[in-house]
Amino acid sequence: MTAEQIIFLLVALFTLGSGFMVVTTGNLVHAALWLVATLFGVAVVFALLNAGFLAVVQVVVYIGAIAILFIFAVMLTRKDMRDQGPQMNRGWWVGALIAVLVFAGLFFLLQGWNGLSRTAAAIPAGFDAVAELGNALVSPDAFVLPFEVASVLLVAALVGAVYVAFNRK
């Protein structure tokens, strides 16, 4: 058990535990805060994968914006300060069964592929992932088109969200 494996196991346990708490806790604000913990765990996983830019963007975008949006939405859609009623719908055991089946299916599928036990190759020296990523995002023979389309999508979402949630008195 190398140190890297131990660290990965701890982080994975933390992330999966927080994820489980997100979907089972009754108090919705607690669920949003467990989501923050899960997102932070995922950011640490990105850092373990040497994707530092993705880790920081995960914290900025997910924790700094999306999780805050969730907390606001939870607080704005409660009739009073307490939670009401059961948080699982009537057929929740079917949902659990489907989730377990999906996980088992994916696990079984992954077992049959022999590329799984490969370990990471060393990163070539002098490789600047951030510079390469920047080049890939704006270079015409790389990914500039999905980049621009994503920005159009964000503008559309911005306009749509403001229009839908606008309080017309």
């Binding site: 190398t2 890297e4 990965f8 994820g19 997100v22 979907v23 919705l28 669920a31 949003a32 899960t38 997102l39 995922v42 990105f46 994968l49 040497n50 994707a51 993705l54 963007v57 975008v61 997910y62 914006a65 999306i66 969730f70 939405a73 704005l76 859609t77 009739k79 009623g85 948080q87 719908n89 929740w92 949902g95 659990a96 999906v102 996980f103 994916l106 696990f107 992954l110 590329g115 036990s117 490969r118 990471a120 190759a121 990163i123 070539p124 490789f127 992932a129 390469e132 990523l133 890939a136 990914f143 999905p146 994503a150 920005s151 964000l154 559309a156 979402a157 969200a161 403001v162 949630a165």
Partner: protein, 102 residues
């Protein structure tokens, strides 16, 4: 050294947990929380394959960044819709938003 399979199993487990959340929760906002978990699982998968494949080929990270943008857009519009529904119908329980059922 951490083998690739560990990352993929982590992503699969997170995806299944998110799926359970989407299928079993009553509150519409809680369903959106489950969707976020699933999107994060996909991102872990993409980043892992970038790292364990060809590091010089940036497609994995670019795809993950586009997923960030799409997730942010979806959460914004989804929560706007939920808040709008709450204003009209005064409930966010997904079962009670059944105006079009016959």
């Amino acid at each position: 050294m951490v083998p690739l399979s560990w990352y993929l199993i982590l992503a699969a487990a997170l995806f299944s947990i998110g799926l359970f959340g989407v299928l079993s929760r009553r509150n519409a906002v809680a369903i959106l929380l489950g969707i976020e978990l699933m999107l994060n699982a996909v991102n872990i998968n993409l980043a892992a394959f970038w790292r364990y494949g060809n590091v010089l080929h940036m497609a994995g990270q670019v795809f993950a960044i586009i997923v960030f943008a799409v997730a942010a857009a979806e959460v914004a519009v989804g929560l706007a819709l939920v808040i709008s529904v709450y204003r009209k119908r005064n409930t966010v329980i997904a079962d009670d938003i059944d105006l079009m059922k016959w």
